[in-house]
């Protein structure tokens, strides 16, 4: 079990579960991003402004165009392929997860560039890593990652 301490940050007009995240691709570190934990989002997604900060990333179109509407901001959904999401655990270790991350590209450039969101960690991450959002101690909430079956 890996315990990731959660912080409740003031952001986007309310209290949010946010995580400081380091992102990597196969070539190495991309940089840091603030990720919103959103159990209502099916997929983990990076938004257009972050792509401008991490210039190495090149979103690829999906086989069929798909759109996401988030808080009134409309995005074309593309894929960034497999990225590494790096988090700090409660013992200050770096814990890394490999996962497909999508990109919210600018369906409407003017609106998309005003979008305050940087990254969403969605249900895909929680399910594939058998994660638990644990608020048993409200002062110290945790994201608990269950270890799955070991490979042969």
């Amino acid at each position: 079990m890996a315990d990731i301490p959660l912080e409740i940050y003031r952001a986007y007009g309310g209290n949010r579960i946010m995580l400081p995240v380091s992102l990597k691709d196969s070539s190495g570190s991309l940089g840091f991003v603030k990720a919103l934990m959103d159990t209502g989002a099916p997929d983990s997604m990076l938004f257009i402004n972050v792509l401008k900060r991490f210039r190495r990333l090149r979103p690829a179109s999906l086989p069929e165009p798909k759109y996401s509407n988030l808080a009134g901001y409309l995005f074309e959904k593309r894929t960034l392929g497999q990225l590494f999401i790096v988090l700090r655990d409660s013992e200050n270790n770096l814990v890394e997860f490999k996962q497909e991350v999508f990109a919210g590209a600018n369906a409407n450039e003017q609106l998309a560039s005003a979008n305050p969101l940087e990254m969403i960690i969605g249900l895909d991450f929680l399910v594939s890593n058998k994660a638990i959002l644990n608020f048993r101690n409200p002062a110290k909430p945790l994201l608990q990652i269950e270890q799955a079956l070991p490979s042969q």
């Binding site: 959103d38 770096l94 990652i145």
Partner: protein, 108 residues
């Protein structure tokens, strides 16, 4: 570096198996990277704690925070990035936030 791999059921209700890589780094991770990660986390926390104080001055603007200071602000994200370069700031490691209006709450 300790490296472990686990087979993981990817989606509830399906039989697809996906290899989830799960790595724990120890001392071998470059200390500069850890230091940058800590600095980013501190700035993110500082921003959250000072958001209400910053709002009157920076409402509806993007701000760039580094070392618990607002280095630059602009309503235009691209201009903010250009300004950051002038300040020799690596934007891939900087906290950038759009300060939305006080009465607006994003529903996600």
């Amino acid at each position: 570096m300790e490296r472990r791999q686990y087979w993981n059921l990817s989606d509830a209700g399906t039989s697809n198996l996906r290899l989830t890589e799960y790595k724990i780094y120890g001392d071998c991770m470059a200390s500069a990277y850890l230091s940058d990660f800590d600095a980013y986390t501190r700035d993110l926390k500082w921003l959250s704690e000072n958001l209400e104080n910053l709002r009157p001055k920076y409402e509806n603007k993007f701000i760039l925070v580094k070392d618990k200071k607002v280095i630059s602000a602009s309503a235009n994200y691209d201009r903010l990035l250009e300004d950051a370069v002038k300040h020799n700031i690596d934007v891939s490691k900087a906290v950038i936030e759009r300060i939305i209006s006080k009465n607006v709450e994003l529903l996600l």
